[in-house]
Amino acid sequence: MKIRREHLLIALVLVVGIGLVYYGMTRRGPAATPGTRLRITSEPRGSEKTISVQPLVAGLDDIIEVEGPLGITVVEVDGTRAHVVSSPCPDKICIKMGWLERPGEYAACLPNRVLAEVLSPEEQ
């Protein structure tokens, strides 16, 4: 097959795509410092949006249960990191998003309207 200019352009787009994926997967927030917190936003049935904020401190383990339209989402805090351990949603994407430890990392559960995100000490 003759190589047309079009194929070079397609290869260029592919390189841009791979670059974006690489950037997205390796771009990490600043290392967690004292004062890093976990914020969980949820929308329990029949009430307003609820926000819970919890410090991420070594040695402080906790289980947080929040309610959404589908049921209870469970977030486990293991010292300076946290993850979603159980969720009533069909796809479990929030669980697959794994551990959250650096400011800017988050796990979102769209069906159950839950967002768990790590805040830097400066963020409100």
Partner: protein, 178 residues
Amino acid sequence: MRSASLQRNVQISFLTAVAMALHLVESTLPPLPVPGAKIGLANVATLVALKFVGFWPAVAVAAIRSTLGSALAGKFLGLGFWMSFGGATASALIMGLGLRLTPRNASAVWASLAGATAHASVQMAIAIRVLGQPTLLVSFPLLLGLSLITGVFIGLVCDGLDKPLHRFIVDRDRRNRR
């Protein structure tokens, strides 16, 4: 029913069935490393419908495929349905526009890329709207990058299908018209 419109209905049904099959095949493949991201194999059927059948039939293939797919998965009218329906339909519309704007002999990759970008943008917009959290935008570069890669792949698959399908769809049309 006139034979032209019967033929069109058959083509739409056929491509919808192919799209459902591709959807099923994709669900057996290992997932991409990014939670929630997919290859979008079923979009091959939408793109083929755009090239060989027409604009609205292709939109119909995308809409019916995403509706049936969600219904069979038991998620009809749920959030997953809206994400899939919105993404598939928007991408069909934009791919149709892309095909019209590119020269006739150009690769289908360009239309496919336009559709992939539309797909990612619509799903991101729905996600942000649902949670009311613009924070989610930080993952957009990653999702867009993956869309570009899968978009190139889907477009190349369509380019490869071009010749065999020409024999299958277009030549039969001509034979029938004689």
